[in-house]
Symmetry: C2
Subunit: 299 residues, 2 copies
């Protein structure tokens, strides 16, 4: 029996009183020096194995220490692919461990393709690896997204479509005005409303969500009104410069319907907070949880 993805997501938000997603973006140069030193002193087959083992220790410890603060974790595939097959193996282990600890797992893969290739990407991340949701790129149009939507629906899983990304360059295509008067990203939002309508769960939310950058607070608030029942995944909090007030517009009137990601600011919080690196990360995630809870209008 599979429960609807959005129902699980909204229930987790209430249980943990948290909208926090922690992005699992391991970067060797940013690991706590004590951890790096420990692994530099160990005898490994090669540098890839050293990094995989250091990341494993770092991320598994954080998974344990952050579980009361974060509803979801979001491994960013690039940081695992760059380690080749052993990195992909670590990604698989992380997903399994995170799920067993009660996190929802969003595979931040940003895949986009057509037909049997899109089908294979959906199967890879939602079924073989077993993530709860995957981020996808809308550039191919409806027939590119359809295999992701179908397989996710069948498995009780979610798809987050990149609607308006957090980077300044998102203006180059996404903000261009169409002859109809709407922007390209608003066109994606229109298409998304149709895709989402077929997948609404008991919570009133769909398994088809939108990625909307925290760095665009006005657009996020407008998209929230245009897309009721569509869960938002909001990146750009923390290291990319957005704060709790910037994301307030992404929540619905009940103070739910959106989750907010921070990666580096949580993972590497030891750089600005005292104590052990895991405690610094936990304190940073806790502060984010409280700030978002308030920004969502909760008390």
């Amino acid at each position: 029996m599979t429960t609807h993805f959005a129902d699980r997501l909204l229930a987790a938000i209430e249980t943990k009183r948290s909208h926090v997603v922690v992005g699992l973006d391991p970067d060797y140069s940013l690991l706590p020096p004590s951890l790096r030193e420990k692994h530099e002193a160990l005898d490994y087959h090669d540098d890839t194995q050293r990094r995989v083992e250091a990341y494993r220790e770092f991320l598994f410890r954080l998974l344990i220490d952050l579980k009361a603060e974060a509803v979801a974790v979001k491994p960013q595939l690039a940081y695992y692919e760059v380690l080749g097959a052993p990195g992909f193996g670590l990604y698989q282990e992380l997903v399994e461990t995170a799920r067993s600890l009660g996190y929802l797992v969003i595979a931040d893969a940003k895949r986009g393709d057509i037909g049997s290739t899109a089908e294979a990407y959906a199967a890879a991340h939602l079924e073989v690896v077993g993530a709860d949701a995957i981020t996808v790129n809308p550039w191919f149009g409806a027939d590119g997204l359809e295999p992701f939507l179908r397989r996710a629906r069948e498995a009780g899983k979610g798809v987050f479509v990149l609607v308006k990304t957090s980077n300044p360059g998102s203006a180059d295509l996404q903000d261009q005005e169409l002859s109809t008067g709407e922007t390209v990203y608003e066109r994606v939002a229109d298409l998304l409303a149709g895709w989402a309508a077929g997948g609404v769960g008991a919570s009133g939310y769909s398994n088809v969500g939108a990625v909307v950058g925290a760095t665009h607070p006005v657009q996020a608030a407008k998209l929230r009104l245009a897309l009721p029942g569509v869960p938002f995944l909001v990146p750009g909090y923390g290291a990319q410069g957005a704060g709790a007030t910037d994301v307030a517009g992404a929540f619905d009137r009940a103070g739910t319907g959106a989750i907010v990601n921070s990666s580096r600011a949580v993972l590497y919080a030891y750089r600005t907070r005292p104590g052990h690196w895991a405690e610094a990360a936990r304190a940073e995630a806790a502060a984010m949880r409280v700030a978002l809870w308030k920004a969502a209008g909760r008390t």
Copy 2:
């Protein structure tokens, strides 16, 4: 010392008298029955290992038999990710073997992201795995592509940007008309002209290319005129329905500047051609090579 990607590509076209790219998209259900039966009878740890070993035998044999016909091979990442870490390992082995056999290798990853994440994807496929070029998705805009362009340029490698994809759904976003009168994909082509200008090699071609579907012959011919010096990677030939006359417009006046991909029609040619499956694939690739050479105006 690294030679410019486009210079290597154009030299390979002349040496092999071929514009053929073979897409390496392994699908277990389409493998030659004799090969499947052989691997079904062997004792493997699990089904993943069985598939990896069957794909290895199939694809390595084809790499050897197709090397006089194809200038490049294009592994489609989805089909390796769906096998998890062992699949990613097979992809790495394939790239290494294909390069040692004299193929250019295009990692069909269609990645798109920003900043350090885009950087990690570029490093993963162009440096760690060692492909000669990678396909990328333009949805994030210029700052998303910049890390791919920079790392490719430094390493003498290439980037192919998805301009107009071969699927019917490409109309949903790519064909939308902007208030300026141009379509969204024409806007991508405009941006691409700027990115490509910085990377022109001795051949007059840039290391920044365009993916333009063979299923859109009129648009391809117009894009060819609008983007001189931009190498085209043309998918959609064969199984997706396009033939040599459909791709004629993608070549420049010298009959070069474009390479054309076929995946299933070559890999699984045993279904329509007599003899051993490897010979059937070779004959299919040879027929494609001759048809494209003629379509390019060569004799």
